[in-house]
């Protein structure tokens, strides 16, 4: 009896770990489309992730009015409360994130890569600050709670909920993975790779490179929005701090660089490896002060970024070489 309890406990832990790793894998696949295949360096992954998560949360949660005590707002509540099903939330999350990506892409994509990086970094930071400050809309630092789970059990069963979450996550990841592999092998994907290698030559072949770049950036943003929708099901509540660059942008870069840019299988491996590091740091919490381990983990991510970009920019699983036969 005790044995099975421990077993399901460990399995539940692993299921939740894998669900987070799946969320980051989806994020990394979105970034891989933008950077790995098209060469558009996005420094605002957290921003698109945040838009997806908050869109999905506002659409799926029940109405949450502000708590007022003696004329003073104690808890701001949040806007929305439409109580719509998760699928609607996920689709709208993709739509809004994709639109945001297209809007930010239009002024910056015709410029050099570093302008895009700065503009997207600024965009993500401003979106995050608006989320924190516009608390009647988003709940501010209180975040959004009471997010409906994918499946509810009576009495509450963490093991079954974890398995449902893992199952849905795995299906979504598989769907995104297959869709992306199909997309990048299509003629459109070929244009993206051509843009990455030589944009002027692609233009000379009569391709509308700007349009393809905007499409690629928007599709990548939409996938990040989908990751945001999955994320709210994984977390007990939504907190704007989860979308800071150090937690939602820079680790994704490491995942893609470790796994191998322009290789979706490698990117998923990278996401599980890097998120696995987080899992290990949680396990180590009992032995080391938790704040220190958190900061040391981010320092390791920084060191990995430097070492990998200098010595192994192609990653563990490099891009498949395509040779003309």
């Amino acid at each position: 009896m005790i044995g099975t309890a421990i077993d399901t406990g460990i399995l539940t832990n692993v299921a939740y770990f894998a669900s987070f790793a799946i969320v980051y894998s989806v994020l990394a696949i979105g970034f891989n489309l933008q950077w790995g295949y098209t060469g558009l360096f996005n420094a605002g992954i957290g921003g698109f992730f945040l838009i997806g998560a908050y869109t999905a949360a506002i659409i799926t949660t029940p109405y949450d009015p502000p708590t007022v005590l003696g004329g003073v707002v104690i808890v701001p509540g949040h806007w929305g409360g439409l109580s719509l099903p998760f699928v609607v939330g996920a689709i709208l999350a993709m739509v809004f994130s994709g639109l945001a990506a297209a809007l930010i892409a239009i002024p910056t994509l015709r410029l050099r890569a570093d302008y895009l990086a700065i503009a997207t970094l600024a965009f993500a930071e401003i979106i995050r600050r608006v989320t924190i400050n516009f608390d009647t809309f988003t709940g501010g630092t209180n975040g959004i709670t009471r997010i409906p789970r994918l499946a509810s059990f009576e009495p509450p069963d963490p093991f079954a909920s974890g398995m449902v979450l893992l199952g849905v996550g795995a299906v979504v990841l598989l769907a995104v993975f297959l869709f992306m592999n199909f997309t990048v092998e299509s003629p459109w994907g070929r244009i993206l790779r051509a843009i990455r290698e030589d944009e002027v030559a692609t233009m000379a072949l009569g391709k509308n490179t700007l349009l393809s770049k905007i499409q690629s950036f928007a599709l990548g943003g939409a996938i990040m929005g989908l990751a945001g929708a999955l994320f709210i099901e994984t977390k007990p509540y939504l907190d704007p701090q989860d979308f800071s660059p150090a937690l939602a942008t820079f680790p994704i870069w490491v995942m893609v660089i470790v796994g191998g840019a322009a290789n979706n299988r490698g990117v998923i491996v990278g996401a599980f490896l890097i998120y696995g590091m987080e899992y290990v740091s949680v396990l180590l919490k009992d032995y080391v002060p938790s704040n220190t381990i958190y900061y040391v983990r981010l320092m390791i991510i920084g060191a990995l970024l430097i070492i990998l970009i200098i010595y192994r920019p192609q990653g563990l699983l490099p891009e498949r070489r395509r040779v003309l036969k």
């Binding site: 360096f41 420094a43 002024p107 015709r110 410029l111 890569a113 516009f134 991510i301 970009i309």
Partner: protein
């Protein structure tokens, strides 16, 4: 201003005299000074009008704006120099500023020395850090495009920022300085010698220093040449390696001073630098990447607009107007808006030269086509006149 004898005498005495005359006014320079004067007069009239309409606190926000601008200018000059020479955006710059502030804090608080010594020590420590960064990391990424060094610089930033968290704890700290009494010029307009006076003085002297360096020294000229065209600079015998090290040293030294100033007007904490990074990037891009003078102009535009928009936002935040909660927190979005507008309409910045980027956007493309058509028309009519 337009002194005709100055130009004539320089022609008579030859090139030597021309080179050593610091205030030689060419026609182009006169035009620029006139334009600058017009902008200054318009700005004074604008602020004066606002003050007359909304009260004295507009002047207070203008003073805050100049104070912020001074810090942003010092930081933006450092960032733009290395951007121009090495061709990448240093995302670790905000964290280098924080590091500078913490080194000064260590000297100031733990070693009980004056903040001046703290700032000087911090300057030289950061100079060493800058040279080490180039030797250990960024020299290995030469010729790899702009993205690889950006990724590496983010790594450097993460290491510095979290290293500070581990070593120095997260809570905000203050420099050991006596802030002095705030002088009330008019009721509602206060002036602090330390926070306003010192910041403005340091900002101004750094601007003069960089102007003198870039104009009158061989190092400055070599820096400008290297930023302009690396291959050509190498071919003319400039030791570009040395220039790169010198630029890293200057850039990081400026970061340290900006960090100390930022710590003086607020407090020292691990995220202080990185949160102002976007402001500095905005100043650099608005001014035109690689141009120190552009950074000064961009810093002024960005700093003033960020602070002077606060009263407007406070007004918008009132329940009877728009009722946005915490409206004044959105002032950080203003530099970003300016950045986007500049990227849309003049990607090379205010002071930068037009690059070979062809505008192909929906809006900008139409404008560019109209301007090109007008230019062709003018050229054609000019040629026609000359022909006739």
């Amino acid at each position: 201003m337009a002194d005709p004898s100055a130009t004539e005498s320089s022609v008579v005495t030859g090139r030597r005299a021309l080179r050593w005359r610091p205030f030689h006014l060419t026609a182009a320079l006169r035009k620029r000074i006139l334009r600058g004067l017009i902008v200054v007069v318009a700005f004074v009239a604008f602020v004066g009008g606002l003050t007359a309409a909304f009260g004295i606190n507009i002047l207070q926000y203008t003073l805050y704006g100049f104070r912020t601008s001074a810090i942003v200018i010092v930081a933006a000059i450092g960032l733009t120099l290395i951007y121009g020479i090495r061709g990448f955006a240093n995302f670790a710059y905000g964290d280098l500023m924080t590091l500078g502030a913490y080194v000064a804090l260590f000297v100031n608080v733990n070693a009980q020395l004056s903040i001046v010594w703290g700032a000087i020590t911090s300057f030289f420590v950061l100079v060493l850090v800058g040279i080490l960064l180039e030797i250990l990391i960024f020299s290995r990424l030469e010729g790899r495009g702009p993205v690889a060094p950006i990724v590496a610089s983010v790594g450097v930033g993460l290491i510095i920022q979290n290293g500070i968290y581990v070593v120095a704890e997260a809570q905000p700290r203050l420099f050991l300085v006596s802030l002095g009494q705030e002088v009330t010029i008019v009721p509602g307009l206060g002036f602090s010698w330390l926070r306003d006076g010192l910041t403005l003085a340091v900002g101004f002297s750094f601007m003069l220093f960089i102007h003198a360096l870039l104009t009158y020294t061989n190092l400055g000229k070599a820096m400008r040449a290297t930023a302009d065209n690396l291959e050509l600079a190498k071919a003319t015998g400039i030791d570009t390696k040395r220039v790169t090290y010198a630029t890293w040293a200057l850039s990081c030294g400026f970061a340290s001073t900006a960090g100390v100033l930022l710590g003086l007007i607020s407090d020292v904490q691990p995220l202080r630098g990185v949160t102002s990074l976007l402001l500095i990037f905005a100043a650099v891009i608005v001014g035109g990447i690689g141009s120190a003078y552009g950074a000064m102009l961009g810093g002024l535009v960005v700093g003033l607009s960020q602070e002077m928009v606060v009263p407007l936002l406070v007004w918008l935040g009132r329940p009877e107007v728009l009722g946005i909660p915490h409206a004044d927190a959105y002032n950080v979005a203003v530099p970003f808006l300016i950045l986007i507008l500049v990227l849309l309409f003049r990607p090379s910045g205010i002071a930068g030269r037009q690059t070979a980027i062809v505008p192909r956007g929906v809006v900008t493309g139409a404008i560019a086509r109209a301007r090109a058509a007008r230019r062709t028309r003018l050229a054609a009519s000019g040629a026609g006149r000359r022909g006739g």
